[in-house]
């Protein structure tokens, strides 16, 4: 894992001092709320419906146990005893007090954490593959490149007041577990036919009210030009991205309006110029970072067998675990989606328990996933049963990864000042309706995603089944979408037709699932059946 040196530590400490000063100026009246707002947002502090919310950055979703423990302690000390893991691999606290936020940031800085640029019209926390460094199918560990970009983007003086927010994801395998093409910049680390590693750039993807899949604009950027190329992409956006309408201000609109070719031409021109400006860190800096992401000391010859005689354990292994690159090890995902629970929420005790388990059984590492779950990336198979038992006793043993119970949902109208409709109660009702293990086993993989407004924080466009909450003449109404996906086969869901009320949408999901169960052929997932039979049979069942 990356470890701060004196410079990194000084940067976060300085930020704490700067933010403390901004809060002081707000409280003494030298800053109005209008002036303070963009400043607090750049530090992840939102004013929500009932209280301030603080979003803490978890760079590329990677944490150690000391950091995770502190996240639990913050939940106890400054919030109401829980935290909410987000679709950007971050954590949010929903009930913080303005005057205490500088102290929270100081606590975070003590474990090499921060809330820098977790909101605002700037480059946000950089996300990555939650299985990085453990996945059997990756070319390299993507996180060193994400860390290089993290440092470049932190307090980048030219890009702190962009037209709109800017999200970057970095992956390094063909299987895309980070929805990379739905980011402002998606980077895939690739190897060319000469065996050289480089970065493939996709620019202009995104969700929100105009979902778009980012087109590839560069097949391979050499590693010693990565920052320079990124800077060129950002400068063209900062200069020409639309600022007249916040709904058309994301880079996807610029790329779409200019056309991929013209945007690419402008980036290449800017890039050629910037190459003369010596802004690229030396490769030695990348090597320095990479040295901190070496494999943990896996035990050679660790037993690769698992005793699956306990049927509940077997179910959890089959659903929630993935292959590890080292024999005798496995990647285990902790579902934060218990039946009827709030997706992504964890109590302070649960957070600390996961920290302790990671320390004891996963080389001190955890990951947050964009599906709002927690990963133990390196569990020895011999320890897995014990890990599962401990999780299960703490209410964390739900075996539903990537099933209809593993719902992504935004905070919605229960918390968020932008929302049009509640997301959480809908997620809870669907989770209860399909809560039984038998039902979930019958249905198989089904990614269901709920957003409480068109901003799409719940990724509804990318759900096999997506739900979008809208406001229909003062009443919450829910649109149903089918056929979205975020993997290597990224696609955008299509709206089925008129929306439903809260109970109606739960029934509509059941109807859609029944059509799938009726129509599916051997081994097809919901998405496969939908892609084969199309919208018509679903529409017929839903509306006729």
């Amino acid at each position: 894992m990356y470890k701060y040196d004196q410079y990194d530590q000084q940067m976060v400490d300085t930020r704490v001092a700067e933010f403390r000063d901004q809060v002081r100026r707000r409280i003494d009246g030298s800053l109005t709320e209008d002036q303070f707002r963009p400043l607090r947002l750049q530090n992840g502090l939102y004013l929500q419906l009932h209280a301030y919310m603080l979003r803490v950055a978890i760079p590329y979703g990677t944490l150690n146990s000391r950091q995770m423990t502190l996240l639990g302690d913050i939940a106890d000390k400054y919030d109401r005893g829980y935290g909410h893991f987000t679709t950007r691999q971050n954590i949010q606290y929903n009930w913080v007090k303005l005057e205490e936020t500088p102290d929270i940031l100081a606590d975070l800085a003590s474990v090499e954490m921060h809330a820098i640029q977790t909101s605002g019209n700037c480059i946000r926390n950089i996300s990555s593959d939650q299985y990085a460094g453990a996945a059997a199918d990756e070319i390299v560990d993507p996180r060193p490149y994400a860390e290089l970009l993290r440092q470049w983007s932190s307090f980048h003086p030219e890009f702190l007041t962009l037209p709109r927010k800017f999200k970057i994801a970095v992956i390094a395998s063909e299987t895309d577990r980070a929805a990379m093409k739905l980011h402002d910049i998606g980077i895939q680390m690739v190897k060319n036919d000469k065996g050289e590693i480089g970065a493939r750039f996709f620019v202009g993807g995104g969700m929100g009210r105009t979902p778009m899949i980012g087109p590839m604009i560069r097949d391979l950027v050499p590693l010693d030009q990565l920052i320079t190329y990124s800077e060129a992409c950002l400068r063209v956006y900062n200069r020409y991205g639309r600022r007249d309408n916040k709904y058309k201000a994301r880079i996807k609109i610029l790329v779409h309006e200019l056309g991929k070719e013209e945007y690419t031409r402008q980036v290449e021109e800017e890039f050629a110029h910037l190459l003369t400006q010596d802004i690229e860190p030396p490769l030695a800096e990348l090597e320095r970072i990479k040295a901190m992401f070496v494999d943990p000391p896996f035990e050679a010859g660790a037993n690769d067998d698992l005793d699956l005689s306990d049927p509940d354990f077997r179910l959890w292994v089959e659903r929630n675990c993935a292959d590890h690159k080292a024999p005798g090890y496995i990647v285990a995902t902790v579902s934060l989606k218990p039946v009827g629970g709030i997706p992504g929420d964890a109590s302070a005790d649960q957070i600390r328990l996961m920290a302790q388990l990671a320390k004891d059984c996963s080389f001190d590492e955890l990951r947050v996933t964009h599906a709002q779950n927690i990963v133990f990336p390196h569990v020895k198979k011999a320890d897995l049963y014990k890990v599962w038992q401990t999780l299960d006793e703490a209410g964390l043993g739900t075996a539903n990864l990537d099933t209809v119970g593993d719902i992504i949902a935004c905070p919605g109208l229960d918390y968020c000042s932008l929302a049009n409709a509640r997301s959480i109660p809908v997620a809870q009702k669907i989770s209860e309706r399909f809560g039984s293990a038998e039902k979930q086993a019958e249905i198989g993989e089904l990614k269901l995603k709920i957003s409480g407004c068109i901003n799409a924080c719940g990724h509804h466009h990318a759900g096999h089944i997506g739900i979008l909450g809208v406001d229909k003449k003062g009443v919450e109404n829910y649109q149903l979408l089918l056929g979205g996906s975020e993997g290597a086969d990224t696609s955008l869901g299509q709206i089925t037709g008129p929306g439903f009320d809260e109970d109606g949408i739960v029934a509509a999901v059941e109807t859609a699932i029944n059509v799938y169960l009726r129509e599916r052929k051997n081994g097809e997932r919901f998405l496969d059946t939908y892609r084969r039979v199309g919208m018509a049979p679903f529409k017929e069942a839903l509306y006729d």
């Binding site: 410079y7 000084q10 940067m11 001092a17 000063d21 307090f155 003086p157 030219e158 900062n238």
Partner: protein
């Protein structure tokens, strides 16, 4: 015209008032110009050696185009005064400096102590921006 509140240059302030980019491009002798957010700073590149003052206007501090304008000009070799004007607030100052601004004329005067603290805030920086400061990566591998 708003007074310059902070200036990091030893030469005298330019005497001529800044004209718009359109007006500047129509004249042969103007020495001061004002860039608005929508103007393309690259239009000025052929004339940099006769310019003494370029003002970059920030009608709203949250519109960040002026930062790129400043860097484009400095990267092209402009050495005259680069002045941030308009809605210039305390929390922009160190970032503006990093992008090449060396004079500041905020439309609402800033608290001197707060501004001084803001200019001094960052002992180290993560990026090379052509302002002469050594990036952290350069210090690590120096």
């Amino acid at each position: 015209m708003t007074d310059v509140q902070f200036r990091f240059r030893d030469d005298e302030e330019a005497g001529d008032p800044a004209v718009t980019v359109d007006a500047f491009l129509d004249q042969t002798n103007a020495t001061a110009v004002r860039i608005e957010p929508g103007d393309d700073a690259r239009d000025l590149l052929p004339y940099l050696d006769r310019l003494q003052l370029i003002e970059v206007n920030f009608p709203a501090w949250t519109d960040g185009r002026g930062y790129s304008s400043a860097r484009v000009l400095r990267e092209a070799g402009y050495v005259g005064e680069l002045r941030a004007v308009g809605d210039v607030v305390i929390d922009m100052l160190s970032h503006l400096r990093r992008c090449g601004f060396d004079a500041f004329a905020p439309e609402h005067g800033l608290n001197e102590a707060d501004a001084h603290a803001a200019f001094q805030r960052w002992d180290n920086v993560y990026q090379a921006t052509g302002d002469g400061r050594q990036a952290i990566w350069a210090k690590r591998h120096g």
